[in-house]
């Protein structure tokens, strides 16, 4: 009988194609936006996971600010690390280098200023003061040239990202050319490879200019240390090492613990966590279109039921039970919503394809998401079709037969 309902439903949907298409629109938008957004989140998560497996597992990250107890879905958790800057100093970094068990400590010092070359300014980049072995810690290889050595001193050199080379120098390998920061010339001696998306690094290497930490003098402005990467001698000792760094920094900070030490996974957790919450939030907004779509279906089903009074009367007269009438109309609603979901899935695949081609994000559509979305749309169909169908089933056959339509 269910197959019969299905056939009846498709027949009556076919006979009102334009209206059905409009009705499905809400569901199509809901499904495609939920799937695309969740796909993006999932994609980033997987990319980050791939990145993390590539980087050293003996890595600690020291960030300024105290990590608050995770408060999900609050604004606090999103802006946590962004707002807290400045609590790490050069002394902290030097002290960490001195802690036993530390192989190397690399600061990410953000310098305010604009780089220029040949009179053109490059304003949308970061100037980062750092030391070796930054590329190794970020798992970010150099394509041309080389990074400056650890005992490089204060000679003014720079290693730049792909974007800087292309946008500022308008060439692929501007090695030997010099750019100007605050009136001082820095000679380019290396160009990074294009940074993979979802990289472990908190800053975008592509538009960054890395200069040796020691080349920045007091007259060049303050260097804000946004984080310090610490490579341990051996991975097993991380908890102990983390504790000794904590003690060392606490002494520097007069007993205050206004910094956070994260292990590799924890550091990612923060990035992922923020992204996850954004995903959930946006997906939640997109789910609202399911409700809107459901209401659209319910509306059109009510209209259909009162338009097809006579049909209902005829069907009842030739022996359809109330349950059979109910089944027919609920099925019609389910077909509308699930066909809408199907189109939505197709649309999201197309959207994901476009995103893959045009950006460096890699959206991933999982079977679970498709299953959830399809289940949800069928549920929407049942819920929004039930009331109109019940109305149809309750119709008095005599009155319905007498009606004009």
């Amino acid at each position: 009988m269910i197959f019969e309902y299905f056939k009846m439903a498709t027949a009556s949907i076919r006979s009102a194609r334009f209206r059905s298409a409009l009705t499905m629109f809400g569901i199509i938008i809901g499904v495609s936006s939920v799937m695309t957004i969740v796909g993006l989140g999932e994609g980033v998560k997987q990319q980050v996971a791939t990145q993390v497996s590539e980087i050293s597992d003996s890595l600690l990250v020291v960030r300024p600010g105290k990590r608050a107890a995770p408060k999900p879905f609050s604004l606090d958790s999103i802006r946590f690390f962004n707002s807290a800057t400045g609590s790490l100093s050069e002394k902290d970094w030097r002290d960490i280098e001195g802690v036993e068990g530390v192989e190397s400590a690399v600061p990410i010092g953000v310098l305010s200023g604009v780089a220029s070359y040949d009179g053109t300014e490059y304003s949308n980049g970061n100037i980062v003061a750092s030391v070796a072995p930054l590329p190794e810690l970020l798992n970010q290889p150099i394509e041309y040239g080389e990074f400056f050595a650890k005992n490089h001193g204060n000679r003014r050199v720079a290693v730049i990202g792909r974007g800087v080379a292309e946008d500022l120098f308008k060439e692929n390998v501007p090695i030997g050319k010099s750019l100007e920061i605050r009136g001082k010339k820095y000679v380019v001696q290396g160009v990074f490879e294009q940074q993979k998306s979802g990289s472990f690094s908190v800053f975008n290497v592509n538009n960054s200019i890395i200069i040796p930490y020691d080349s920045v003098g007091p007259e060049d402005g303050t260097v804000q240390i946004s984080q310090i990467y610490v490579e341990a001698d051996f991975a097993e000792g991380l908890p102990v090492l983390s504790e000794s760094i904590r003690q060392s920094l606490k002494t520097n900070h007069a007993g205050q613990e206004d910094f956070t030490i994260l292990e590799r996974e924890e550091a990612l957790e923060v990035t992922n966590g923020v992204f996850y919450q954004l995903t959930v939030f946006t997906a939640g907004v997109a789910f609202i279109s399911f409700i809107v779509g459901g209401i659209g279906i319910m509306n059109i089903m009510f209209a259909t039921v009162s338009e097809r009074k006579r049909e209902i009367g005829i069907r009842k007269a030739i022996g359809a039970t109330n349950v059979q009438i109910l089944g027919q109309f609920v099925m019609e609603s389910i077909v509308l919503s699930s066909f809408g979901a199907f189109i939505g899935v197709v649309v999201s695949y197309i959207a994901n394809g476009v995103i893959r081609v045009t950006t460096d994000l890699q959206p991933v559509t999982t079977i679970e998401v498709i299953a959830i979305v399809c289940g949800l749309s069928i549920a929407t169909g049942v819920v929004s079709g039930f009331l109109p169908a019940a109305k149809a089933a309750r119709k008095d056959p005599i009155e319905s037969l007498r009606s004009q339509n």
């Binding site: 007269a317 030739i318 005599i398």
Partner: protein
């Protein structure tokens, strides 16, 4: 079991009453009607508009429920059944033929005819075959895959007859089957109904046209919710008596032999309520079988 003569009574109706509306708007559509129908009869039900013919047909066809009274179909108390069982019973035992054909416009003729079987749960192939056979009986084999919009009125009514027959029902209820047809098509349809009757089917036909009584072997005349005339006639006889009875009943109805017609109807110049008025009353005052209306009925008695 209840036997009359050779036949078992297919339909037994005892003191069936149907009241519409409440309070002052109460209308008695059927007033303690009793009727037995035997298998194989072709009954022509006549009477002016508003006399209760259609209400009686609707109750026999289980589209409507009586306010009180007893209705047995094939020795089963139909009026006491639940809605689902009634619907199934309707599907299996009743074939409806309407004045306005009532085929579904989105389905082909074949699918229309097969629809009662679909509700029975018969597999697709089997029921298409059965529907094809039914269409063959009414001579519409070449129209199987047409939509109803492509057929003439006479063809539509023949398709509707095929749909009524496809389930092999115990009664065929035809409510003015020729009302929307020209005389030629009407004749074809009536001959078809006559053929159906001849092979042993029971037919209940409502009609306004006295000349159609020639196809019937029993004539019932209704007035103001009661059966006032019920007689067997020979098939093929154009009944002058019916015509006379129709005329005389119309004239004599003024002397109010039917004392239990509702008070409202008495105030009207004619016993016969105008059709529109009657319809709108029935529509607006829909809630049936309410305690109030029952009470009202008792008071009018």
């Amino acid at each position: 079991m209840y036997y009359t003569g050779r036949f078992m009574a297919l339909i037994e109706i005892k003191e069936l009453t149907k009241v519409y509306g409440f309070g002052d708007a109460t209308t008695v559509a059927l007033d303690e009607v009793s009727l037995n129908v035997e298998k194989g009869e072709f009954i022509a039900v006549m009477g002016p508009s508003g006399s209760g013919k259609t209400t009686l047909m609707n109750i026999i066809g289980m589209l409507d429920r009586p306010t009180h009274g007893e209705y047995k179909l094939g020795s089963k108390h139909v009026s006491r059944m639940g809605r689902i069982r009634q619907a199934r019973r309707r599907r299996d035992s009743i074939g409806f033929i309407f004045q306005s054909f009532n085929l579904l416009p989105k389905l082909t003729i074949l699918e229309n005819v097969a629809l009662p079987l679909a509700y029975k749960g018969m597999p697709h192939k089997k029921r298409m075959k059965a529907a094809g056979h039914a269409l063959e009986q009414v001579g519409l084999t070449d129209k199987e895959y047409n939509l109803s919009t492509q057929l003439s009125g006479g063809q539509l009514q023949r398709a509707a007859i095929a749909r009524a027959l496809v389930n092999d029902p115990s009664i065929i209820i035809a409510d003015e089957p020729t009302g929307n047809l020209d005389s030629v098509s009407a004749r074809v349809v009536m001959e078809l109904l006559s053929d159906i009757h001849r092979v042993g089917n029971t037919v209940l036909m409502v009609t306004h046209n006295p000349s159609l009584t020639r196809y019937a072997d029993r004539i019932i005349y209704m007035l103001d919710g009661s059966i006032v005339y019920d007689e067997a006639t020979a098939v093929g006889e154009v009944s002058d008596r019916v015509q006379k009875a129709v005329d005389s009943l119309r004239e004599s109805s003024d002397d109010d032999r039917l004392a239990d017609v509702s008070a409202m109807m008495e105030t009207m110049p004619e016993k016969v309520t105008p059709p529109q008025k009657r319809k709108s009353q029935g529509k607006s005052a829909r809630p049936k079988r309410s305690k109030k209306s029952r009470k009202r009925k008792r008071q009018t008695k």
